[in-house]
Symmetry: C2
Subunit: 213 residues, 2 copies
């Protein structure tokens, strides 16, 4: 026993300590959900007294909201960044559906679901949720509009279609949080659905997959 019960945390620059606390909150949220972000748990994870967490935050609602935004914005930026390397809107939309449903981000999905319910009692969080939803919708709308300009898609009201696609993705992901079995080929069926919405030809977003995928 050498390191754990250290008497007092070394003094650090405020920005550095704040970052450590934010990171502790982020880890807790990804492992156990947004409700796990409590004063004492974050403090313990950061190796710091509980009062220090409060010192760096106006209140816990704010830390929950900030943690939500940090996690979700990182995902959006990461995925949106990958889109730039793809040649056509059709490719980009197919990639989006494929990536967001591949099950590799279930922890982030859980954060979204937590945020939807917590947002009813945490106004700061609710604001962040709407903001991040707008960001995702913007990415999708951009792809849909580019597809129309390129003659690949045909639909009116691109904003609504983008919202719709986002809602579908969220719903399917939330579903897989609870019940991952029994659903084959999520991607293929979703591709069909989106083809119907954006007016793309059947099969253009994704061919029937070979068993191995």
């Amino acid at each position: 026993m050498s390191s754990s019960p250290q008497k007092r945390a070394v003094r650090k620059a405020p920005a550095e300590r704040a970052a450590e606390i934010a990171e502790a909150a982020r880890e807790l949220a990804l492992e156990r959900g947004l409700p796990a972000i409590t004063l004492r748990r974050v403090a313990a994870r950061a190796g710091v007294a509980s009062g220090l967490v409060a010192h760096y935050q106006p209140n816990m609602d704010a830390l929950v909201a900030a943690t939500f935004t940090a996690i979700v914005a990182a995902e959006t930026d990461e995925v949106a960044g990958m889109l730039d390397r793809l040649p056509s809107p059709l490719d980009r939309l197919a990639f989006l559906l494929d990536t967001l449903l591949d099950g590799s981000r279930l922890d982030v999905t859980a954060i979204w679901v937590d945020a939807w319910t917590l947002g009813r009692r945490n106004e700061a969080l609710a604001v962040c949720v709407r903001e991040r939803m707008d960001a995702w919708q913007g990415v999708l709308q951009g792809v849909v509009e580019a597809g129309i300009a390129a003659g690949e898609f045909e639909t009116s009201d691109t904003a609504s279609v983008a919202w719709q696609i986002l809602g579908m993705i969220d719903g399917l992901n939330a579903q897989s949080l609870v019940r991952w079995d029994g659903v084959n080929d999520r991607g293929t069926h979703l591709a069909r659905a989106v083809e119907g919405m954006v007016g793309a030809a059947r099969g253009s977003l994704r061919q029937q997959r070979s068993p191995e995928g």
Copy 2:
């Protein structure tokens, strides 16, 4: 002041009291979500001492789970019951999409979202959630299969398609919990999407609506 601070609740038959407690829990859940179901709050709403609520339940997790099932099963039964009066699978599917997205059941949607997050910490609830999802999926799958038999739809893997439609509905409803504005014509876009999935002709599930709807 006549009724409120009554000294002692009149003694009732166990079944009757249990029903009253269940009803109190149901009202609380619909008004303020599943997390509002606490020993003391349910007791207060039922006009009873806190100990009595515990007396009728093994623990609070069980009451939360039972309340979830009561609320959600009622909705499924109600909507499924209306399907019988509709002539064709196409009509039934159109009605389902229309009804489940009409925004008149946002309180039930909130219960679903609560249950998805609470289910991670309440195993009894998680079991009920999976059970009720299966029920909804069964209803949808029945409609899709009838549609295939009737030659109105054309798709393989009806189970997956049913799951997919359910996921979309849940996602769009959850979305409208947070952000109700900015999305026009949810029903029309969803109809397009589902048409793409089940292989129905474009417009067969819903014509472009007139502005008044």
